[in-house]
Amino acid sequence: MREISAKLITRTVRDLCMQAACDLPEDVEALIAAGLEKEESQFGKYSLEKILKNVKLARIEHAPMCQDTGMTVVFVEVGQEARIVEGDLTEAINEGIRQGYEEGYLRKSVVKDPVFDRKNTGDNTPGVIHMKIVPGDRVKIEVLPKGAGSENMGAVKMCKPAEGVDGVKEFIINSITQAGGNPCPPVIVGVGIGGTMDKCTLLAKKALARKAGEPNPNPAYAEMEAELLERINKLGIGPQGFGGKVTALAVHIETYPTHIAMMPVCVTLNCHAARHKEAIL
């Protein structure tokens, strides 16, 4: 058994939270820059220029690129040959979030009850933590700070199998049309198809963590991603919803086997500030 200290987990999560808020992944930045080359609308170009300037400024000044530093989604893969010592893993992650948001001067945006007592917890905890046990003796931690502007525009549909691929595409396109300028386009579209209702939402969120623009390894889904991206960019929404040709930067589809009677689909959106950092311990 390889031992990994809970304190190391905390320090890692803290650092990832602070880095993610200020340092946009270069794959996302490259897609925004490519979007600027394609964009024709004057307001679209204006928006993309400001966005790219902001990305660079945030990186240099270690300032959050967006004031919504998100609710912290954490994907953890724990190798079954690894043992967490000196503390509780969930608490170690939340302590990392607490420290990262305090020391990084990040906004605390979590309220303790969704309906009755919407009081800010003051430290951005708890995070939304997804754990998975995997082979090996490593621990992989991915931090995705998820802003609400884009998260609010996600949607789930329990499609009927008879709706087929066209039904799935229509639901995805309709979701983007409904979202319009709200989720801070250009967006990255995460799609989860299959499993159960809960499984497809998790797949969609995992799809957002994929390297931006990388196609699904299955050629049928890769083709579907490319077709959807083209159709979305014909909707005219454009950067910030001001009208234009660049509404989405990428469509990522993740799938899972499902029930004979089901075809669940989840669409989750990430704004252009598609923040993501990971570490392997």
Partner: protein, 186 residues
């Protein structure tokens, strides 16, 4: 977009009438940040016939909740939040004299109708360009609802804050005009 209109607060009737959807502007003067919880508190106060914590007559509300200021800075990153969540509250604020709103994303028909009736304007800033925008905010004071943390109402002195007229006082809506222009039927 070469001709940038320079605005100063509070907005005057003549300034507002001159603004058209798609105009690029900069704002200098005082604006007030308020978002979800602050709006709910204010509208609740009005229902109970209590005064608002700020006089909104002729003022601009900025839908924003900043990150904490680092030492030596007046504010952290401070871009606009999604305005649509304030749609339920905005008409009542305009009835109280509010003349300008800054946020991001489209507004409801009810808000646009109220803007036409009350002669108000909606400005869009670039969502997610929060570090860049923060440089235009020169002084910040919390003036109400301090307990709300990032959602407290802040009085902000801004200089050349950049934004675009998204919906003008005649109801012209850049979000509709722009999207129609670039939509390709398939």
């Amino acid at each position: 977009m070469t001709n940038i209109k320079k605005l100063s607060t509070p907005l005057t009737f003549d300034q507002i009438k001159d603004l058209k959807a798609g105009d690029q502007v900069t704002i200098t003067g005082v604006i007030y940040s308020a978002r979800d919880a602050a709006h709910k508190n204010m509208v609740d106060a009005l229902k109970e016939n209590k005064p608002l914590p700020i006089d909104v007559e002729g003022q601009i509300i900025y839908y924003a909740g900043p990150t904490p200021a680092k030492p030596g800075k007046v504010i952290g990153s401070c871009g606009p939040t999604t305005s649509g969540r304030m749609d339920a509250f905005s008409p009542e604020m305009m009835e109280q004299g509010l003349k300008g709103m800054i946020g991001k994303g489209p507004r409801s028909k009810a808000v646009i109708d109220s803007m036409k009736k009350n002669g108000a304007v909606y400005f869009a800033a670039i969502g997610g360009a929060a570090a860049l925008i923060a440089d235009t905010i020169k002084k910040v004071d919390i003036v109400a609802y301090e307990e709300l943390g990032p959602e407290a109402i802040r009085r902000m002195e801004v200089k050349d804050y950049p934004c675009i007229v998204a919906v003008d006082s005649e109801g012209n809506d850049l979000y509709q005009i722009g999207v129609e222009k670039y939509r390709v039927e398939v």
